[in-house]
Symmetry: C2
Subunit: 344 residues, 2 copies
């Protein structure tokens, strides 16, 4: 198992990325191909030497967090993230992991892997934390912000295929994120998507924002715009709640004394269930290869977890699983026609 | 100051509604007109008598939480919520408050008050809690789920007019909820809305989901679909966080002992900053009258707060303020033309 890793992407690159690679090689028994500026990567290695299982691939270009994704990927052909995607396309690596510019990581995978046949648009499968339980999956977390109803149907199919591997569930349930549970609720996009989803495997109907973080259903489908707002809203709400709790624990002497007992337990609870490093990376669905997107502030542990997830996706054959899900769908041909009609 | 109150709307109606009315009359010095089934309302009054400042208005119909809003409001002309809206239209009351079926409350206000001249669609201004600070306002919280870009511009104008009264700020700042801070981020709707908002008073650019609950900017503008998802996502995230905290505080003897000190402080913090009863009701913006929408599970205290908010809106002349905001806008005439073109 060989994982291609963009060593130059992320707030803590390349140090946290290289450290994560070393951790993964040691604990997971995978090989890691590190793509980046060789001197910079080497500076992070003990004695400047890459240990067994780690291979450095020198790249002359980098795509930064604020670079325009599409243009950067098209013009910087020697960028670390682009080269990592190429390694997967060329069969040199089994999967790629990136913690840098999300748009550029997606664009690299999309352009180099290509889409799975019949897939109109890619989607990001993002794990949403659920206290005392496994995360559930939000699809799309931000890959495709303007969606057609039939693309949401495909996101459900891709999401289910992924959930089978990620959550280890035979027949994952799917809900459509809407502004009410009743069937008639939603904007035009949701109403049309609902009618396409109705009767499809696992579909349980509309769910609401308050169902996020409950773990029901296994997969929640939405467009990439709404999905991105929802994920970041959760992030903000949890941060605000944590700020409130820890300020109160520091508010007087009695609270401070009690905090000595409860603060470590609370921090452990957060680490166990809410920390993005625990919840895990996002996976780009609908492309012909495995691409794990780790968050921008990834620590070494987050990178190692994302490498583990990438390996799990390869072993679980999620790409094959997605191909089957799309090919099996009797509506796929229709979708293709509709897609072509809608294409502008 | 006379407030028309739908006594039959809400999970705890009519008991909590009547109790809230009594509390408001006593503490706020307002008069309340209670609309509902007289016998049911009377059963909640001490000795079956309405005290000074409370007037019962008998209605023969009710619109339930699961009734279809538009049809119900059109056909049940003697429904309590419809009659409450009529009282405002006819100058018998200064404002209305409802905790029942949100769609029906909105539709009653919209159909009976009418829209402010130049306003294409109404929006709900929803207060978003901010720990240790005043809430900020999300517009639209769910009134108009399918939006045109120019309607989002109007939501910003309406939201600022309301924020001046609600937050007591002379020149409120406005952000557009998007999937990234950069100017180019967003779906088609956001990109077009951004270009309309650019350079308008108070506009600070795009904001993200994680900016909700920080209090910056004062007004956050979005379509009613995304707004509704965001509000309910906050609700779910805070509930999940509270579940995690209180489960941990109950997890072992040492934690339980510490919880005796910190649990009351935490509950007080939640009550002070996160409880919808404290944060306050939502206001329907863009209609020619004051309509406060209290949440479905409103307690007597929530109703009393919503009545206080309604009175504050009347005293602060928010309807006049919104009329000025729309009339002053040099683009209003253009919007009107665009609205007519878009009308289906």
């Amino acid at each position: 198992m060989k994982i291609a890793l963009d060593a130059m992407g992320g707030d803590n690159a390349p140090s946290a990325i290289v450290a994560g690679a070393l951790e993964a090689v040691e604990t997971l028994g995978v090989e890691v191909l590190l793509f980046g500026v060789e001197a910079a990567m080497r500076a992070e290695l003990p004695g400047g030497q890459s240990p067994a299982g780690v291979k450095l691939v020198d790249c002359t270009e980098i795509i930064g967090m604020h670079d325009e994704p599409g243009t950067s990927v098209r013009t910087r052909k020697d960028a670390s993230v682009v080269r990592a995607a190429e390694a997967v396309r060329d069969g040199i690596a089994d999967a790629m992991v990136g913690a840098g510019n999300t748009g550029a990581t997606m664009a690299s995978a999309l352009l180099r892997f290509g889409r799975i046949k019949g897939v109109a648009r890619p989607a990001i499968g993002v794990p949403i934390p659920v206290p005392f339980a496994s995360p559930h999956l939000l699809v799309d977390g931000g890959a495709t912000v303007d969606c057609k109803p039939e693309w949401l149907l495909q996101f459900a199919q891709l999401g289910r295929a992924y959930a089978k591997v990620r959550l280890g569930i035979d027949s994952p349930t799917v809900g459509l994120l809407s502004n009410g549970e009743e069937a008639g609720k939603g904007d035009e996009l949701r109403k049309l998507a609902f009618s396409l989803l109705e009767g499809t495997p696992g579909f349980v109907g509309n769910v609401e924002g308050r169902d996020l973080m409950t773990g029901k259903p296994d997969v929640i489908v939405t467009d990439g715009f709404t999905g991105n707002v929802a994920i970041k809203t959760i992030e903000g709400a949890l941060k605000a709640a944590a700020g409130l709790v820890f300020t109160i624990l520091d508010s007087n002497d009695e609270a401070k004394a009690a905090a000595k007992v409860v603060a470590p337990l609370l921090l452990q609870g957060v680490a166990d269930y809410l920390d993005p490093d625990t919840v895990g990376g996002a996976v780009l669905l609908g492309v012909d290869g495995v691409c794990v997107i780790s968050h921008g502030s990834s620590s070494a542990r987050a990178i190692s977890s994302s490498i583990a997830l990438a390996a799990e996706c390869v072993r679980g054959e999620i790409v094959e699983s997605m191909k089957w899900a799309i090919a099996e769908d009797p509506g796929a041909a229709t979708n293709k026609v509709m897609e072509d009609q809608h294409a502008s």
